[in-house]
Amino acid sequence: MNCREWEKNFKNWLQANETLDVIRPTLPRSLAEHPAGCPACRFRYQVFANLSQPDSEPIEAPTDLPRRVMAAVQRRSAAPVYRRFSIPAFAVAVAAAAFAAVLMITLPTRRPDSSTVTVRLALAAPRARTVAVAGDWNAWNPESDRLFDVNGDGVWEIELHLEKNKEYRYQFIINGESWIPDPRAGLQVEDGFGGTNSVLDI
């Protein structure tokens, strides 16, 4: 068997053995012979084996990492919460996104007999390709809550149903990469990474 044949047979065998329960199936004898005499294929198999070995070498975190994390958390929890209104926020947003002419409307409307509140977020970003919002309610997933510009006026909107009596931090994501605070949110707090989170208090 030469290297090319071995590659082909190895891939076929892999495909035939790809059940999830067998994470690292044993190489059959017919496939084990070639790598035994061929350093290149032995290396290839070793790379693959490394990818299939649970805790072959447990990775150890630096011992002082929890302490450093706590220091950052303490700084964060002590960070001043301050109110900021639309003019400076406007400047921040434009600097961050360069192209987002910005207008923001937040309309919490309480629905009777319900533990949730409907919140409408809007961001004017006429040149954006996509706008999404990530925050405490969606585990900061930049892809789960997208805004839509339904009528083509450059204002992107979303309605969220959030639990009452909670405070949510959030940011908009433009084109999947520029994270900006909501320029019109009444409350902005430092996010601990040199940026700013907007706060919804409903």
Partner: protein
């Protein structure tokens, strides 16, 4: 029968939840229990997802800050572990994109000091250790080159040992999709390994 020091998920969850409650009541130092418990797991996940130790340390810190900031939205009746994993993976997706743009991916091995590790000396020679180190480096680099979702599923399943249903919960996808992603991850990895070791004469270390 339950022993006092029973490390079952339920009990572990109870301790974490108590700490979360105390943190929410205003005692930030109680958060240390959460940090101590999940740092090893988040560090190992971040290192595998990002490839560099410094990036992994930074990511762990940022993930915990997000967890801390989101505590109020965590539902106390739920399990904490999948929730923290979800936040971690969302963060890692974003930070991987950012760092890929910032600079070319350069892998830092978990075992860069492999040659100096005591204990192996009697069993394997330096050449074999180098061979293993190179293979491990190549494996790490291959992982960084597949899609975020495939990489996440593969790492959680093959390297962190989570179950298919746990991964489905964490990533918010059906179990069938987890299986598909796992299969594709493995195929892509095999493809990468062969493609990248094909051209050089000895085929070694060229991924």
């Amino acid at each position: 029968m339950m022993k006092e020091d029973d490390p079952s998920p339920a009990r572990e969850n109870a301790e974490v939840l108590a700490a979360v409650q105390e943190t929410l009541n205003g005692d930030t130092s109680a958060f240390r229990i959460v940090v101590d418990r999940y740092t090893p797991l988040l560090f190992s996940l971040s290192l595998r997802m990002l490839g560099g130790r410094e990036d992994a340390e930074e990511a762990v810190q940022e993930i915990f800050l997000k967890v801390f900031a989101s505590l109020r939205s965590f539902k106390l009746e739920k399990r904490f572990l999948p929730w923290i994993y979800t936040i971690a993976l969302n963060h890692l997706r974003t930070s991987f994109k950012k760092r890929s743009r910032r600079r070319r991916v350069e892998t830092v091995l978990p075992h860069e000091d492999l040659a100096a590790r005591p204990g192996d000396g009697d069993r394997v020679g330096p050449e074999h250790r180098l061979f293993l180190a190179q293979a491990e480096a190549a494996a790490g680099r291959a992982l960084l080159r597949i899609r975020h979702e495939y990489r996440a599923v593969f790492i959680l399943r093959a390297l962190e040992g989570l179950s298919v249903s746990e991964i489905a919960t964490i990533m918010g996808i059906p179990e069938g999709t987890v299986k598909t992603f796992f299969r594709r991850a493995r195929q892509n990895l095999a493809e990468l390994i062969f493609r990248e070791t094909r051209e050089t004469p000895d085929g070694i270390g060229s991924i």
